[in-house]
Symmetry: C2
Subunit: 425 residues, 2 copies
């Protein structure tokens, strides 16, 4: 092992370590592709920038600082491998198809077992497990007869209690997947239509100096950024992934704590997620697959602090919250309207081998990104009117007027100004 395990970050002077394993992005054979080594037990073997665990890398760094663990020690990843096999699919090897995650990131303990045995500290950037979920709305859907338990995709469970009525739950066995971002910077820049160096400079400069190696070590293409984790939930048999005859329903969802966790009435997020659950269950019951992709893109990718500031501004407009001012308020506060970069979103769908889907979303940005990336959308499922909370009228009418899919009416500018919400002081 290297006498000086820590390579200084201002490392333009040092050449790339001779024993670093190179990464050939897009190669079919994973050993030819090379492992992502972002671990720090032996820093001289790293072949990427950044760190595992997204924003949680800082928690780990602090744990190391107080001596909670020995950072030079390789962890034991026995028995952590996935409960499901995902891929490989042809999309994994098509140039430019997947640039924001590592298609081989799931079962590194198996795929790169030989290298791990040689001593390399290789960690997954994706994990998958089995879970039993029972979203609250599913029970309502069953009671309203929109869904029916079938004992496989949707299971009616009874928990007996002494002297009381049994508790009835409606549970769905699913595959739950977590994905850390793995950025291929030159390929991301290409998709964005800008230069690789321009992207790197902006990442460094506009963050006030996060990972200057992005610029000083620009020969390293792969970066593990602290930019959120993606969760995927799959209803149905994952062995059907990649089968062109299996119908697939997908809900693409950008996280919103206020709605997803707290059921706020100001937006349609949770209601659309709930519709996603229903449609996914139905598709899986018909022999297909239902997939929820849950991105950590709070507040249109601007984060929660900006989001709440925008809420305040919206509600202080003369006459209160207004569909006509919906996007403008965000533009004033953030400088622009949307930081979610939907053009990278389909990477997860490609990783799952999807070619043709029913899409539970009205978003034109999501639709365009998916279709432009080569996935066919055979149906777009609109959120029914009676599922839209009162305070969310402003959001949904503004979005429809701006291009959201709808079979209903799109309001013109005059009528849009008449769609109002609350007024704050």
């Amino acid at each position: 092992m290297d006498q000086n395990p820590f390579r200084p970050p201002t490392s333009t002077v040092q050449a790339h370590e001779p024993n670093t394993l190179p990464i050939k992005w897009g190669a079919r054979d994973p050993l030819e592709r090379g492992p992502i080594i972002g671990t720090l037990s032996n820093p001289s073997r790293r072949n990427v920038l950044g760190a595992h665990g997204s924003q949680y890398s800082l928690n780990r760094s602090m744990a190391a600082a107080v001596g909670m663990f020995d950072p030079t020690k390789k962890p034991d990843l026995t028995d952590t491998h996935s409960t499901a096999v995902i891929g490989p699919f042809r999309q994994w090897f098509e140039p430019g198809k997947i640039v924001t995650l590592d298609p081989f990131g799931l079962d590194v303990t198996k795929t790169f077992a030989s290298l791990i045995a040689e001593g390399y500290d290789i960690r997954p950037t994706i994990a998958a497990t089995w879970a039993s979920i029972r979203p609250r709305e599913i029970r309502d859907a069953v009671l309203a007869r929109r869904l029916k338990p079938d004992g496989e995709v949707l299971i009616r469970e009874e928990t007996k209690r002494k002297g009381k009525r049994p508790i009835v739950t409606y549970a769905c066995p699913v595959t739950e997947i977590a994905i850390d971002p793995v950025w291929n910077l030159p390929e991301m820049a290409q998709r964005l239509g800008i230069g690789d160096l321009d992207l790197r400079r902006s990442l460094v400069e506009q963050s006030g100096g996060m990972y200057p190696d992005l610029v000083t070590r620009r020969e390293i293409p792969i970066f593990l950024p602290p930019n959120g984790q993606t969760i995927v939930v799959i209803f149905g048999d994952t062995r059907k992934l990649g089968d062109p005859n299996t119908p697939v329903t997908v809900r693409v969802h950008d996280a919103c704590v206020g709605s997803d966790v707290l059921d706020s009435d100001i937006c349609t997020c949770r209601p659309y997620l709930a519709l996603g659950f229903e449609e996914c269950i139905r598709c899986a019951q018909e022999g297909g697959l239902g997939i929820i992709v849950y991105f950590e893109k709070e507040g249109r990718g601007l984060g929660s602090v900006t989001k709440l500031m925008v809420y305040n501004k919206r509600h202080r407009q003369p006459g209160g919250d207004s569909a006509a001012k919906y996007f403008w308020c965000t533009e004033m506060v953030a400088g622009f309207r949307d930081a979610r970069f939907q053009l990278f979103m389909p990477d997860v769908l490609h990783w799952l081998g999807l070619e043709k889907i029913r899409l539970v979303s009205m978003s034109n940005d999501k639709y365009d990104a998916i279709v432009n990336s080569g996935i066919e959308v055979i149906e777009r499922i609109e959120l029914p009117d009676d599922r839209i909370p009162g305070g969310a009228r402003v959001e949904i009418e503004a979005k429809k007027a701006a291009g959201y899919f709808t079979r209903g009416q799109r309001l013109n500018v005059v009528d849009l100004a008449g769609v109002r919400g609350r007024t704050f002081k």
Copy 2:
């Protein structure tokens, strides 16, 4: 404005800019304390490390890269100010009391209006708004007669529909707050019992080089890290904050998408959050305050990828998931058991002026952190047995055996080994 607006990150050579506003942490007068300037429209005026927006700073950097906005332009923050007044409270000025957020971070547009008028680009690190939330479990609690609408804290709303029964919702008007982390590194190091430079070195080295200025600019005490955002929800009249005679119920919650959003049966997270909603509503209805503090500390602060790996390992133990192996599995996979650093958690409670609370949590780590920080816990509210999902027995028995508060039985090592869950292949 500086001819070269971007100060290179490897900036040991340059002295601290002469016109940088100094920060005197803990000063009573905000103008004497100084504003946090983490913005980038005029980098020479920055007086902190890091960037606004936590992990979302990267989204903004990418938006700048593609020209979505002009990063040299100051945004318009008109009408974004809080709907509620928070503080100031004596805790804001007590040395070492608040070290992971900016107590003056909420209404910077008012507090630092004079400096903003002079041209400084000062942005909030905290935002607060009004919201109407209707968590699904509240309806269940009303129907089960555990809660009763009172038209103020818990409001029964009827939405009429043509030709159908009206929709009945149970809504709570709340104050919703979002908090970006603002780290005072020397004071954090002190609370951790380590040296400031040791903390900084670990943050840089164990992240593979994130913000090397943490070490090269060690004279700068304040850092805005990409480490998650905290959400606070307050039921009741926020003007009562700081009143020692107002009873306060607090649920301290570490986020869990699998449970909070998907209602997975493997853990008690969402059920405990739901209990928190009920207790908060009840306290507010009695003239007190109910507060949920929702931390972005997924998977014990290890993140979702590690969390799901641990689930797999747990379920592959001989005989399946076992309370006796609950913590050990995490230790094997991550190297240690817990990266949540509860010792910093009370900062939010101090910011809210809390002195005495009822705590909806069984965690001994949370209790100890709160009590050691000087806040009195007059009651600890245990999760009732019938609210524990089947798959979560392993978690709760393991935690009770390890020190979690309970009026019930703590299992010994032998019996703990008998508390089993599922088995995976």
